[in-house]
Structure formats: structure tokens, C-alpha cells
Symmetry: C2
Subunit: 191 residues, 2 copies
């Protein structure tokens, strides 16, 4: 997706071979006009998909999911990382290794928010190890619902996440796939 | 705002005099169509306001902020509760008492994302003690920027947050103000 590649070339800061700073438009600050283009593109690529709900994980995934949901006309549910639910609230729990904090974390979704009739589209901003998306996948399966597909804005192909998700049969759409990045001259190789 | 009152009457679960469960449409699951109505209403109420940026706090505030930003044509910045920034990233920090976890927490915003030219609209979903909004306010002031106003979907008037924010001179717009709620018969008194 050219518009996103262009933005990465202009504003993405390559810290090293693996780390990319995109907090000016995709991560900590959201360019909502850009997000609308990304949302439209998800809808174009998943035009044939039946979707009743978008599921994401806090925090930055929420922004892209909400803008994208407007093109699918479905609500957004997000998995929480801390338990703020009341005692009597039944939740689905899945565990994953957080790339940011390097610790095992639980994510939780109230049981009442996903059921066996749901066809769920998973959305996140960046795909690295895929641990977060795999945990969302597990929650959907435990709810007896269907994972329709998964969409990410940026896939870093030098991590295994994309490969793992495709292997388990997920229909994954990555709007931009980065094969490699060079911190010295600030260039990307896109797939 | 009648549409939101109606939704509270139908789907809000009053746990006790202070606690309200709205995770079916405003908190953990987002009804994006409703959010568009809320965003439009913020724009109507703040029609005369100069806004260059919307600032919110993770996580659920992000959803309402992103949809609302479409009516103001500005980007959204969110304050993080955990430090995931790189070592060399300069951040504004403010401390607040979290109503959910009952502990003092830091929130952080990269310095490069707000500057003295910004006119900032603060957005959040629910206003109780106002501690989170006050911390956002502090960050904007420390950045030398201006707080144009603050908008919340629901203000619980039996907490002091609304009063405190108005006292410090914030132009606060609450789309629905709950004076009291009755857990026994499930009714609300709106202002």
C-alpha cells in the first residue's frame, strides 16, 4: 500500500534492524485521515468476508480498529491486559509473551461480548512475533466463534508472526510488509 | 443527549450507587455508530473552538477520540500508562490517582507530540474524579500549549471531577450528566 510505505519512508525512524519508531502517525499519535485509508483498504481486501465484530488488543490497536469498523459496520471489542472487570464477570483469558515488556501477560475479554454466532476480524497495527494476535485467536476459538481473518497495517517479515498465523490457516492481510530495514541509511526493503 | 440516555436506560447495568457497567457499548465493546453521533455532538458543542489536536488516555478513551477526531480533522495523541518509549525519548509525565486500580499512576506523552502552538481538546469516555483529565491538563500546560476544552460522554455528577475541572476554568462539555442512579430499580436521574 503505497501511501503507508511513503509515510514510513518519510517519518518512520529506524532505530536498529528490528526496531522502528512510528509514534508520529501510527502508534502514539494517530493520523486519522491515514487510518481511514487503511480502513478502506482492509474493506477492499476483505470484501467477501463475513464479519460481525472486530477484535483487537489495547491500546494502539483500538484506534485502527475503530476507524476500520466504520467500513464493516460492526462494533469493536478489545481485549484488556489488566483485570478491571467486576468479580462476577465471566471472562475468556489467554496468555501471551508481550514483545514490549518481555513478560507473559494475560489478555481478557468478557464472555458476553463474543459468542458462537460471531465471525471475528482481528485487527492490529504492527505484526511482529504474532503472540498478541495468536492470543486473540485463542479467545475467539474458545468462545466457539469463527476467526474470519486478521488484518495488520505493518508486518515485519523478519519476525515469524506472519508465517505462524498463515500456517495455522488464518487469512492474513498485511497492508505493508517490511522485509528488512537499514538504520544506517534509513531505508526499507518492502515485499 | 437523548440517544445516549436511552442507551444507558436500556443497556447500562447499575451495580451500586457509584458503579455503572457500560461495557456493552461504550467501554470494552464500542458501538461505532453511536460513537459517530457522540463525535458529531462534540463538534456541534465545540463549533467555535480552535483545535489542533485531541489528547486522551489509554485505553477506552482512544476509541471515542478517534471517531470524534474525524469531525475536527485533527490527529489524536494518547497518554500511555506504561513506559514503552526508548531511552532517549523525552516525555512529559504527570501523576494521577487511578479510579480503577486505586493506585498512583504516571501517564506519559512524548514531548515531540505536543508543542506551544497546539490547541488541545481533551476527550474521555467517563468523568468521575477527574484525576485522569487533570493529569492530561497538566501535560498540555507543561508543553506550553493551550487546553481548548474537554469533552466526556458521561459525567457522574456525584463525583467531584466535573466541578473541579470547571473551577480551574476548563470549558467542559459532558454529553450526559448522571445526577444519581438507583441499583434497585435500575433508574437514572439525569441533569
Amino acid at each position: 500500500m503505497e501511501i503507508l510505505k511513503e509515510r514510513l519512508r518519510k517519518e518512520g525512524i529506524i532505530k536498529n534492524q528490528e526496531q522502528l519508531l512510528i509514534d508520529g502517525f501510527l502508534d502514539c499519535q494517530f493520523d486519522i485521515e491515514l487510518f481511514n485509508e487503511l480502513g478502506k483498504e482492509f474493506k477492499r481486501r476483505f470484501a467477501d468476508l463475513e464479519v460481525t465484530k472486530i477484535l483487537t488488543i489495547e491500546s494502539s490497536g483500538i484506534a485502527l480498529s475503530c476507524i476500520t469498523a466504520q467500513y464493516f459496520h460492526v462494533p469493536v471489542v478489545y481485549a484488556r491486559k489488566t483485570r478491571v472487570f467486576s468479580e462476577d464477570e465471566e471472562v475468556y483469558i489467554a496468555e501471551y509473551l508481550s514483545a514490549k515488556t518481555k513478560t507473559m501477560q494475560n489478555i481478557m475479554v468478557p464472555k458476553k461480548l463474543i459468542d458462537e454466532h460471531d465471525k471475528v476480524l482481528l485487527i492490529d497495527d504492527v505484526l511482529e512475533t504474532g503472540c498478541a494476535l495468536a492470543a486473540l485467536y485463542e479467545i475467539v476459538v474458545n468462545a466457539g466463534a469463527l476467526v474470519s481473518g486478521a488484518g495488520v497495517a505493518i508486518e515485519k517479515a523478519f519476525y515469524s508472526g506472519g508465517e505462524v498465523l498463515r500456517e495455522i490457516g488464518t487469512r492474513l492481510e498485511s497492508l505493508v510488509i517490511i522485509e528488512s530495514m537499514d538504520a544506517e541509511d534509513g531505508t526499507f526493503v518492502f515485499r
